[in-house]
Symmetry: C2
Subunit: 414 residues, 2 copies
């Protein structure tokens, strides 16, 4: 029977950090520990993903956690890949079989029969290629990908683990910024720049105050629509007529109709105090446009890394699902699945219910899921109520992290 | 007897927002409601500080809160001045007595006998000037200032209400950024820019991981020491020898030995995609220096407004003291004090104990308290253990804010 493959398992983390990627690692640890003695003997962690595996830099996670739920709870509240990460893209199996044989020699040495890889787009490409190669090999190993990305831009899943926490960080921070901006009566524009190079999901989350009894930014610009500076100026002027404190949410990835990123300028000619050239984000660019063309007080805020690592503000729903999808991956692999990526499917919106399923890795790899048309308003300068309804369940619940001496406790795996 | 002045009270908020300024407002409300019928009949709030008072834009806080502790609790967890703020600096009493007579006519109209002003440096100047003028007037009113500033740069107080919450926000966020930066093995420098134009207290808080079992940035630069770009490059190169992920904390206010702000460049010559001129902060400037002179991966993060409005991460100690100092101000005024500013005095460090006292407004107004010499290391690139011991009690305790539908509830006073 196919599900009677017996041996060790290995798990790795890859791509950019999120606040929930360690919750998924915890789910894999929890899942494998339940399967100890049945299919999986021991769970290894690869340090820095595939790169660490190639160096045989493995840590014995079964021994490190040794059934300690306290350690697992601390792991779940720790942001950024506890095993370390990498950005290695695997070669095509046909082009470089020696690379894959080198991997298989390592799998064989450690008797690894289950391979779990937590990551984004590129990591699911790793899952697709590795499992494709294995189909041509006599080495039996099951390969399961587990998605994570704050960008929410993977195909085949209702949303991605890690997104809900980043969305909650953005939604809460936006509420606080809106309060801050409301204290003065002088006309002022504040531009807040969110991550999201190709998809506007994170920026859309800035509007969630609308359905939570809070405030919302006046304008929201996503990369799914071409950015027109003239329309932007018109939008801001209109908003300033309504009230003095205008707040704009914008995605780092907005582009002009000619395809150039708005934030890509400021490269030549720009010099700082030491005469150095300069690079800036879209927030700074829009700030300068407002300063020059409208002339009121203006500032920009780039939410930057805290969006993806602000674990103290994680969504309890996201962490729960991130653990759940990790466990589900182990269940799927023990049941015989390979070459698949786990996904979250929404059974119903109200009440919010999900289940985990498997999709072929090839449908996920190197694809981008953009914000639906029905989630963006006709003017292209805000999101719709439908969008808020889709996002709302994903930020529900607060994680009351364990603090020590005033700071959250993070678990390091050494 | 002097303490038998009977009438109404007014409270205003002024200067930049903090996460705790409404906790102090709550303290004044709690304090006056205890004194109802004794000295204070009713408490008004001025919208947008003195500016609103001049427009007679007053709100009846006694009626609005009506003894509701639930409303007061929500007020305490709401960032940024709930009454609105202003940045109006009062004229010299000698130069413009008509201005003060106009104020006194308004006080007389509303029978205001107690004046509480929550603010920073400039607001304490308002307290000093108004009380000086009142000494020459036959109108009897008591004026008490209550400090707030995230900058912690007021004289005569161990620390300022609002600072502890901003420091906690910075310390926690720095822990998360340090985790995020640790996931890759490629050499990389991350520069994190904190607020603090003249004093480095906030930037110093980035190092608190040292005494909390966490991590700390490799380098910390405060405005109290001249910034030497050559030393900075040497410091970073040394740090890169020790480990690949170097994190630098820097205050927005650092200056070169010639007195120029490091972040003041990038003004002339710099153009963005639309050909506009450009302004940047010190973080971006240091990022560019590292890129050019060291050539490794580098990025900068400006913590920006969330430092001062990230109330979901407020320090419980700060909020408790902020309420306490508001109550103490009412007690002081009812006891006859005027022309004073409330202060927090540290009775002992371990265990941490404070008491509230009064200092003359003139000793606070327009002064700046810088980081002590003993809190900065000899090389001028980090803080000392003494500094961490001073800061540590101020960030203790988490505020478990009330959330609704995934977002913190903020109280608006209309």
């Amino acid at each position: 029977m196919m599900n009677q493959l017996y041996g060790n398992a290995v798990v790795g983390q890859s791509g950019g950090p999120t606040s929930a990627i360690n919750a998924t690692l915890s789910g894999v640890i929890r899942g494998t520990s339940q399967n100890y003695g049945k299919n999986i003997r021991k769970l290894y962690g690869m340090k820095n993903g595939i790169e660490g595996l190639l160096r045989e830099d493995l840590v014995d996670l079964s021994a490190f956690f040794d059934g300690s739920t306290e350690k697992l709870r601390l792991l779940e509240q720790t942001p950024a890949a506890a095993l370390g990460s990498c950005r290695l893209k695997l070669p095509e199996p046909i082009g470089d079989p020696a690379f894959y044989e080198r991997l298989i020699a390592i799998f064989r040495k450690y008797d690894i029969r289950y391979f779990f890889y937590i990551g984004g787009n590129d990591s699911m490409d790793t899952v697709a290629k590795l499992s494709a190669y294995l189909r041509t090999s006599d080495y039996k190993m099951r390969v399961v990908g587990i998605p994570k990305t704050i960008d929410n831009d993977l195909m085949g899943t209702d949303h991605t683990p890690g997104f809900g926490s980043a969305a909650k960080y953005i939604a809460v921070t936006m509420q606080e910024i809106l309060r801050d901006c409301a204290v003065y009566r002088v006309p002022a524009v504040t531009v807040v720049e969110m991550m999201g190079r190709d998809a506007g999901w994170l920026t859309a989350a800035a509007a969630l105050g609308r359905v939570c009894g809070g405030a919302e930014p006046d304008l929201v610009y996503l990369p799914e629509r071409p950015f027109d500076p003239e329309q932007f100026l018109g939008d801001v002027k209109e908003a300033l007529k309504r009230h003095p404190n205008v707040v704009v949410a914008v995605s780092e990835g907005v582009r002009l109709s000619n395809g150039r990123y708005v934030g890509e300028g400021v490269q030549s000619g720009a010099v700082d105090i030491f005469g150095h050239a300069y690079l800036a984000g879209v927030g700074k660019v829009l700030e300068q446009i407002v300063r020059e063309k409208i002339g009121c007080k203006v500032r920009s805020i780039e939410l930057n890394l805290p969006q993806r690592c602000g674990a103290h503000l994680a969504s309890a729903t996201d962490l729960r699902e991130s653990v759940g999808v990790g466990r589900a991956a182990v269940r799927a692999a023990c049941g015989g699945a390979s070459g698949v990526v786990m996904s979250i499917q929404r059974k119903s919106g109200e009440p919010y219910r999900v289940f985990y399923s498997q999709i072929p890795a090839t449908t996920v790899a190197n694809q981008i899921r953009r914000v639906d048309d029905r989630f963006i308003n006709a003017a292209g300068n805000h999101v719709t109520d439908d969008c808020c309804r889709y996002l709302l369940p994903l930020i529900q619940g607060e994680v009351r992290s364990v603090f020590r001496k005033g700071l959250p406790v993070h678990l390091l795996i050494d």
